[in-house]
């Protein structure tokens, strides 16, 4: 379905040599490369149309404001939110989650309350909750996982109690690739009137996300992981929730009236967008979302499944290679260790062979702890990767084994 050869030409950064070898970029879960359209959008905005948004009544400012607000609607449509008032532009997933942890936390979490997270959270969906829990004297409860890296969501029935204020869970694990059953979690939570925040940083690039169908209360993701630029991200929130929450950051644009005595806040979504917007970033992010929509999210998911299967097959040939994260339902991420070879040795040597993948704890230390390891190698593949690259990885791993054998 996808013409990968043609698609690769859309991504200038894929075509380079590293240490004299053609780059194999398997570090996509850390950050994605950008299609030329996205890069060009940034250039066009800055070189032809730049002007600060909102409040301006001159032509450039008005047009830029329209473009920015149109970007918001493009994001809204991409995740099927029901209103543009539910789309807040932030600096990234981390900022989105912190917004809710602070705002929801200040308003609704008190001493003795509980917050539920899962055993496979990225630090960005863990530390903010630890911080608010500590400030408020609340407690974190953790949904456990099995040794295939699947959440045991039946345990939710025991974890959820009258003390539970919110559940924060990742849609897809960056360390293991697991696609979590967030819809089931949300259903269970809503049965008890508990809101759910979904960390979608790793889900948005790989499959269709429909926030209304999920019925999640909050959804967070980053531009840079979904082929868009850095410094921009999205916080989706149900209007009824966002209306109830206090603003987090103070500044320009998020206020209606200001005096030294009294300040009233702007309507949604601006209430949560303090300071000058990253409108070039937002517009380029919308370009990125349109780009993957034009390829077809279903096509992307199908092809990435092929990549995963092939990689499982090729890496399965290698003796002593242990894969971490073997969920039924996962995206094209393979995390693994080679017996007797330290992952940082392996990563360094693979790098010299032109293969970029990630080593370490992947900002998910508790996951490592759960598996009793210190770190892993992670190959994260996306639609612009191909089978030959997987072959290169497999061959390199064989060579590695010889070297360290």
């Amino acid at each position: 379905m996808l013409d990968v050869k043609k698609i690769r030409n859309d991504f200038p950064a894929l075509h380079q040599e590293v240490h004299g070898r053609d780059l194999v970029y398997f570090d996509n879960a850390a950050t994605s490369m950008k299609p030329a359209e996205v890069i060009d959008t940034l250039r066009e905005v800055y070189s032809k149309r730049n002007s600060n948004v909102h409040r301006g009544i001159h032509y450039l400012s008005m047009r830029m404001t329209e473009e920015y607000e149109a970007a918001r609607r493009r994001v809204m449509r991409f995740i099927n939110a029901s209103s543009e008032r539910e789309i807040i532009f932030t600096g990234g997933t981390t900022a989105s989650i912190n917004t809710i942890a602070y705002s929801f936390g200040e308003e609704f979490i008190k001493s003795g309350d509980e917050i539920i997270v899962s055993a496979m959270e990225h630090h960005s969906n863990l530390v903010p909750w630890q911080l608010i829990a500590r400030r408020k004297g609340a407690k974190l409860r953790v949904i456990p996982m099995n040794d295939r890296g699947e959440l045991l969501i039946q345990s939710l029935d025991e974890l959820i109690s009258d003390k539970t204020r919110i559940i924060a869970v990742n849609h897809v694990s960056n360390a293991l690739g697991t696609i979590n059953p967030v819809k089931e979690i949300i259903t269970k939570a809503h049965d008890r009137d508990i809101p759910v925040l979904v960390d979608g940083a790793q889900a948005i690039p790989h499959g269709n996300v429909d926030v209304q169908e999920l019925d999640c209360d909050f959804y967070a993701f980053s531009g840079h992981k979904v082929y868009g630029p850095n410094g921009i991200g999205v916080l989706y929130g149900k209007e009824e929730w966002l209306e109830k929450l206090p603003p987090w950051q103070g500044g320009g644009d998020m206020v209606k009236r200001v005096s030294y005595e009294e300040t009233s806040y702007a309507d949604l979504p601006l209430k949560f967008e303090a300071g000058t917007a990253n409108y070039p970033g937002a517009i380029a992010l919308a370009t990125a979302l349109d780009y993957i929509s034009s390829l077809g999210i279903a096509n992307i998911a199908a092809y990435e499944k092929e990549l995963l299967d092939y990689a499982n097959h090729r890496l399965g040939e290698i003796g002593g290679l242990k894969i971490y994260g073997e969920a039924e339902n996962k995206i094209s991420i393979i995390s693994f260790q080679l017996e007797g070879i330290h992952e940082s040795d392996a990563g360094m040597v693979l790098d010299k062979m032109g293969i970029a993948l990630r080593t370490g704890t992947h900002c998910a230390e508790p996951v490592m702890t759960a598996f009793g390891i210190k770190g892993i190698l992670r190959a994260s593949m996306v639609f612009y990767n191909n089978m030959e690259e997987i072959d290169r990885l497999a061959d390199a791993l064989k060579k590695l084994k010889q070297m360290f054998g």
């Binding site: 240490h19 004299g20 330290h342 990563g347 360094m348 040597v349 010299k352 370490g360 360290f404």
Partner: protein, 140 residues
């Protein structure tokens, strides 16, 4: 052989290998040749902070000389450690404390390690020098 001469020799050996794959192989070899550290020193007390892999260093005086023993759970790190102990172990504290370790820049070691390893390398050298300084001070 002085520390300086020993370094010249390391540089020569590295220059034989054109690419870093071979140099890594050489470090792996060195690692294989290095004696394992006594397990009793593989504790937090002897752990050097700031590396992705773990790295232990122990020092003691035998007569006039410092004897360094070291180990790591990562093999390439272990190879580098072997280079360093080979170079500095069995020297006097004064020699170690004054040593100018120019071979690191000359063979581009830092640039070809990951940043955490480069940090680890600096950390272990610093630690070796600290030991040397301490023993030297004691001798005075």
């Amino acid at each position: 052989m002085t520390i300086k001469e020993a370094q010249e020799q390391i540089i020569e050996e590295f220059e034989v290998y054109e690419d870093w794959m071979d140099r890594y192989n050489y470090l792996i070899e060195l690692s294989g040749e290095m004696e394992a550290m006594d397990e009793k020193f593989k504790t937090n007390e002897y752990l050097i902070e700031g590396c992705q892999s773990r790295l232990w260093l122990h020092a003691e005086m035998q007569g006039e000389k410092i004897i360094f023993t070291a180990d790591s759970d990562a093999i390439i790190t272990r190879g580098i450690v072997a280079l360093l102990t080979g170079l500095l172990s069995g020297r006097t504290p004064e020699e170690v404390k004054d040593a100018d370790l120019f071979f690191i820049d000359r063979i581009g070691l830092k640039e070809n390690l990951s940043p955490t390893r480069a940090n680890g390398l600096l950390a272990i050298i610093k630690q070796m020098k600290l030991y040397a300084l301490a023993y030297y001070a004691k001798q005075q």
